[in-house]
Amino acid sequence: MRSLARYLIFLGPAALVIGFFAFTMSVMVRTSFAPNLGPAIVGDGFTLDNYGQFLGSSFYLGYLFRSMWIAFYCTAITTVLGFMIAYFMFRSGPRTRLIVGVLLIVQFFTAYVIRTYAVMLVIGRTGILNSTLLDLGIIQQPLSLLFTEVGVAAGMVLVSLPFMVFPIFASLQSISPNVEMAAASLGASNTRIFWQIVVPLSMPGVAAGVVIVYLFELTSYIVPGILGGGYVDMIANLIYAKAMQSFDHPFAAAAAVVTLLVSATTIYLLQKSFRVLSPRT
């Protein structure tokens, strides 16, 4: 009886959150099937036109595919860099771990928008990077990084790194030192220990990081909005433009539902893949 009461203490807030989310999702799905009767006027009927308009247009689908591609390679870059940082922390002493950990966490003390503007100040025409390279004589003209896909990718990797580092670090920490010692005592080299023991055992953390970062980057709005300058708009920017500027809420809802389904499918496939890569315990 007591354990049931304890269970219900958590059930109440959870039910509120899930219920609220389910309600908003149902409104969005319903709107996606509603006819658009004009700017900001949603009809009561049922139509597949909005889905037809999105899925039947190579232009609109291009936004989704481009977003998936950018998210894919940015996640790959973030995974490699994140693993390197996490492994460095894993092999370092407590003081170094603390310093690196604090450096990663401290960026959460500022808003996501501010962090993105900070990237703009680094890679902009008159930013720190260009100023330094010009002063050193390495370049004669400022590099065009801002308002390009390179700039957006750099921004996405930088702001999502902590979300990759910490899950991987947690996984690495869970590896018993006896495992590596046993492998070494049986003659395995450091390289072999790393690739055949450490990396496979860190897969749960890598999987968690990849899922978080991929979803974060696929649905990113602020980074492409600020660092893209209108030239690297992703799917979230399109949905926002359609909903908030064209006031075509049914179309925006349809695009959002399709994006949601694609994201869910991608995550499912990623998780299946990581299950194969992780060693059975």
Binding site: G12, T126, G229, G230, D233
Partner: protein
């Protein structure tokens, strides 16, 4: 009652009571004004404070990121609006009126509205000021002093120009059409003109703060569609910014409306506040802070503004047909994304 049942009941009760509690706190002693944030609030604050002193009715500010954001909010809140008074732009007021979101204004209840010229008011709104649009540029970053719209297309400005499609809902595209023999009713020349701007174009900004940020950091040297109130207080003989208002000229009338669906007490207080905003004294105050032309001709135009814009009444002001813009905006937006917002 068992502990389990008590907790479940309390949770459900709190969830159901919350809207009722918040509704009970809304009285005619306070109304909500939805308007733009940041420095825009500084324009309304003195008027709101004076209004509260004189009437006891408090003004609570609700910030919108743009007129489109405001429209989306009152659309979403249609069944239970949370805002009483709304400032926006002409195009979004048209959309909101057609969607049945705004109260009809009665001049018998708004005596100051009678002074506002007929072309600046409609059934559901009255302009509170006219906001000059033009070109901002950094005097220290441009190779020559811009004087006309055509100067934006000058090859000497390669990679230095920023434009916007979303600010004023396609107004810059219409301007481009006008320069090429078209208009909002014939927009193809506008896209042809934008194709000629490709080499100069470096950024497409979506908000006025973004345009200022890009100018400040030197990322662009020219913001080809600028809203004067954004830099008004920074303009002066020693300023690095300059604002010009070449022909064809654009004066955006900024309307105020009352949102439909509030209680009678809220509506009565909102009517009082809107009338107060249209009084000569309030109009003079707002114009002096914003750098705008008052909608009420009995108010004073700021002397500083007279030194920046052409002599009043401003000649060659283009009258946009916003119904055509609203009808075609979505199509123009898609075409803009395909043809303008792509790198060569």
């Amino acid at each position: 009652m068992s502990v389990k049942n008590f907790i479940v009941a309390a949770t459900l009760g709190a969830a159901l009571a919350l809207p009722a509690v918040s509704h009970a706190q809304e009285t005619a002693k306070e109304i909500r004004l939805m308007t733009w944030g940041g420095s825009w609030l500084d324009i309304f604050r003195p008027v709101a404070e004076k209004f509260e002193k004189e009437t006891g009715i408090k003004i609570e500010f609700v910030v919108q990121s743009g007129a489109g954001d405001g429209l989306n909010r009152i659309t979403a809140q249609k069944a239970n609006p949370q805002v009483d008074v709304w400032t926006s732009i002409a195009s979004t007021v048209q959309v909101a009126t057609k969607a049945g979101l705004l109260e009809t204004l009665d001049e018998a209840q708004l005596p100051n509205m009678k002074s506002v010229p007929a072309e600046l008011k409609g059934p559901t709104s009255s302009a509170i000021w006219l906001s000059p649009r033009g070109i901002f540029f950094r005097k220290d970053l441009v190779p020559f002093e811009l004087k006309t719209w055509e100067d934006v297309w000058d090859p000497r400005l390669k990679g230095k120009v920023g434009v916007s499609f979303t600010l004023d809902r396609g107004n810059f595209l219409v301007l481009a059409a006008l320069l090429n023999g078209g208009s909002e009713k014939n927009i193809d020349p506008g896209f042809e003109q934008m194709a000629k701007l490709k080499d100069n174009l470096h950024a497409v900004y979506k908000s006025d703060p973004e345009s200022i940020k890009l100018l400040e950091t030197g990322e662009i040297s020219v913001a080809a569609w600028g809203i004067l109130p954004n830099v008004y207080r920074h303009l002066g003989p020693d300023s690095k910014y300059q604002f010009i208002m070449p022909a064809p000229r654009f004066l955006a009338d900024i309307p105020v409306s009352i949102v439909k669906g509030r209680s009678d007490a809220q509506r009565a207080a909102a009517i009082k506040f809107v009338d107060y905003m249209l009084s000569p004294e309030s109009q003079t105050t707002m114009a002096s802070i914003a750098g705008t032309i008052p909608a009420n001709p009995k108010a004073e135009v700021p002397e500083k503004l007279k030194s920046i814009i052409p002599p009043l009444p401003v000649a060659d002001v283009y009258q946009m047909d916003w119904s055509v813009v609203n009808e075609n905006y979505s199509k123009w937006e898609e075409r803009w994304m395909r043809e303008v917002q792509v790198r060569r």
